[in-house]
Symmetry: C2
Subunit: 224 residues, 2 copies
């Protein structure tokens, strides 16, 4: 099923990452549901999005309603909220695809890798969501504020997941956001990209730059 | 102290990674001691290295002897041998710098991230070596066979360690090998680069390429 005819819920969709993705995806013609704890806030933001391909405006809803009405659910919330929000939308997630973008940053030392006991935030998401949900992960390394600007973003998006067809959807979503998505392997491999975000934050501090990213080298453009 | 006047032991120096680094470093004028379980084998390989800046040939020795006689010890052995070899050279390591290049690959699933209970191979190395040893890590993501060729290598080297001065030495060693070395933060962050190697192996398989690597973007050349 092509991305164009699926409904995509962005949970935490009023945050910097979620709103940046929602804006790019809406502009690319995808059908977006903005989810938030506060449905009114979600609606306000949704009204600011570009009109969709079907001529109707993007919509906002509570996290649970957005999940219920979507085919693909993208989770863009802080690590500290991940488990609670997943538990809350778990009944509506069943049988769907969950793209988890959670990065396990533990303040105040966000420049230090601190992976959770499960091995990664993505594996935690799969544990909570249960077997009926196809979990993929991605968008860990893109500086969220860059999604709000029009300049090209020098960063690849590694997509992880045990289901290859679901991973392909994640790669399509990266492309729709103007980024190159790449298969990064099984969900267990998400630890690499999640950990790398702390390394990139460390590099930003050390070298006084804003938004270091990564390119995977050695893949000819036509293979990816 | 500049790299030129220090003695560098490459433990596991007859393997693909170790011999590639030894060759590049010797060619750059550094003083190399090739360490191996088999001193004769180490000597044979050392004799094939370019003559050093001081006009004397590189030397081979047992792992323990090489460690004893060096200032900087570079560990390039398979994950399965890391702990045993570190225990063996531990008495000679004291007060020195250990650059651990171990990647925690667990056959047969080397394309799946399987970090050790300590969090990373580098943290395991620090645990074994003890507090008197300044442990840094790096060179996890460079395809070892590319070190043996003259073509430019499209891969950055992330260097991790809790001691910034020791990290600078690792960055210098990357540069001497013809690569860009970057501060990746504390030793705990080594998990990111170690895990990324399995992702790169997964990418090699998925896209049918040989030796995918990574570039960190967003750092102007003159800052790194």
């Amino acid at each position: 099923m092509s991305l164009e005819i699926q409904k995509i819920a962005v949970i935490g969709g009023t945050g910097t990452l979620g709103s940046g993705l929602a804006r790019r995806w809406a502009r690319a013609g995808l059908s977006i549901l903005v989810g938030s704890r506060d449905a009114a806030k979600a609606n306000d933001f949704a009204r600011s999005l570009p009109q969709q391909a079907d001529g109707r405006p993007a919509e906002g809803a509570s996290n649970g309603d957005a999940t219920e009405r979507a085919d693909i659910i993208v989770l863009t919330v802080p690590f500290a909220s991940q488990a609670e929000i997943l538990e809350a939308i778990k009944p509506q997630l069943k049988g769907k695809i969950l793209l988890d973008a959670t990065v396990p940053l533990v303040p105040p030392k966000v420049a230090r890798v601190q992976l959770p006991p499960e091995g990664s935030a993505a594996l935690r998401a799969q544990n909570i969501a249960g077997e009926g949900v196809r979990v993929i992960s991605g968008f860990h390394n893109v500086a969220a504020d860059k999604l709000h600007k029009d300049a090209p973003i020098a960063c690849d998006v590694l997509i992880f997941g045990d289901d290859v067809a679901a991973r392909e959807i994640g790669i399509g979503l990266a492309r729709k956001a103007g980024l190159r998505g790449l298969h990064g392997g099984p969900l267990a491999n998400s630890a690499a990209a999640e950990a790398l975000t702390s390394v990139l934050i460390s590099i930003n501090k050390r070298y006084g730059v804003d938004g270091a990213g990564l390119f995977i080298t050695g893949i000819e453009q036509d293979r990816a």
